[in-house]
Amino acid sequence: MRIAIASGKGGTGKTTLAVNLAAVLAEQGLAPVLADCDVEEPNSHVFLAPDWTSEKRVTQPVPAIDVTTCLGADCRRCVDLCRFKALILMAGEVMTFPELCHGCGLCAEACPAGAVGWTERDLGVVRSGQAHGLRVVGGLMRVGEPMAVPLIREVKHEADTGALQIWDCPPGTACPAVASLQGADYALLVTEPTAFGLHDLTLAVALVRELGLPFGVALNRAGMGDDRVERYLDKEGIPLLASLPYSLEAAQAGADGRLLVEALPGMREAYTELWLALRQSLDQEVTS
């Protein structure tokens, strides 16, 4: 079972829910794997403090032009075909912009002279380790790298060793969120009871519907705003799996990088109930 935890709005509590849920499930002996797909700004390691036992460099192939065989201005097929402007003709030579390259391979396919070879662009690292009885897999994107998606895919591939996986997704509804959500059995959307929280939730709902994923919502920091989110969920018939109340103690424990299920009374039970509600929601989806 693969549960993706996403949101739309940043800062609603995706990582908080992911790490605390994973910790509770590990305590129950379910051996979850936590995949931190927010490769731009990962935070799950702050709360779980895994011992990183493996780290793997991840690269993307980018073209390397062999100037001895390249036909240059007499051909320029790669330059004209590239949709991403990653190849240009300058002073008769084909030059590459590696950071614009999507690694599609069209240039190599089209080159009549076999002049397109491959080199690598560093995307970042994928690392894995153990903590709190669970396996943690995460990615750390190179600062300056524009594309998160290839690294996210590697993280998920590396994390695909367990039957139960929790995917901590990045915020937003663009390609990093899409790449993180793809293939999930269920999406848990985390929101807060505010105007921004509701608005971005509606975008996340549109996304998971587009992707055809069963989903439910967890309302984090309940009580800090108003009831607009609950009214929306009611109107749309979207299951509210949990309402986790705002508290200064929870905010401060989170600020210090502590697991709420260890730091505060009642949290372990709240997350266990969330899990039961999620299972029930997923079972209902499967049977309907």
């Binding site: 709005k9 069209l106 600062v143 300056g144 899409v178 971005d200 800090m224 600020a255």
Partner: protein
Amino acid sequence: MKQIVVLSGKGGTGKTSIVAGLASIMPSLVLADCDVDAADLHLVTQPKIITRHAFISGELARIDEDKCSGCLLCEQKCRFGAISPEPRVLPEHCEGCGLCAYVCPNEAIVMEPRHCGWWYESHTRFGILVHASLTPGAENSGRLVTTVRRMAVDLAEEQGCEYVLVDGSPGIGCPVIASLTGADLALLVAEPTVSALHDLKRVHELARHFHVPCLVLVNKADLSQERTREILDFCARSGVPVAGEIPHDPIFTQAQLAGKSVVEYAHDTEGPRFGRIWESMRAALGRSLVRL
């Protein structure tokens, strides 16, 4: 004309609320909401849309079933898993590279322009707002950010506005890079949490990579004195000036629920506070000018 981008690294530190607060104080500005896939600035600025533009960017492959022979060469060659064995194009995976169309022996694949969302030029009580909505799941968010920024800059120049204030998105990937390059100042909004400091360091490194001077603002500062101290220590060690600290206050949420900036909602306290933050920003912009 100066461009200021508000970033954070971590989501939820208060960028949009702070942009709205600054917009209530700053003279002569154009606002740009570059958080294109989760745009919220319109919720507190109540824009009146003047012009609306379809954002057409990149391409999507389409297979013409009549010409398709089912050879599946496209599916074999595609590096993004965007073609299923029927064959059918999976739009959420397709990056619009055109390799499938190029290799198809029957010319059965067409690359079609992709409508990825909308961008708008609007009037608000603070000035012009350029904003956008990326269709959920669509590609090319970075290009939409670039479009929004370029329009905001053009409008500012046309109208003789002194500032473009950009509400950025979380992260450090291509939409953030598109918001950052060529900016005159990056205001980095942090909160006193271990996560936010970790993320702040990365977005700061990104800004340095693009030679954009930074200023840090600590929001919700009294949530943890110790963590605020850590952020200030980081700033001191890294030579990043601090624009100020904002206390953790329910009026931020209340203002948002009321559709107002926090300065409008609680002018007596927040007016002077944001005025001081703005003065720090002006000083930072002045310093950059001197450095050049």
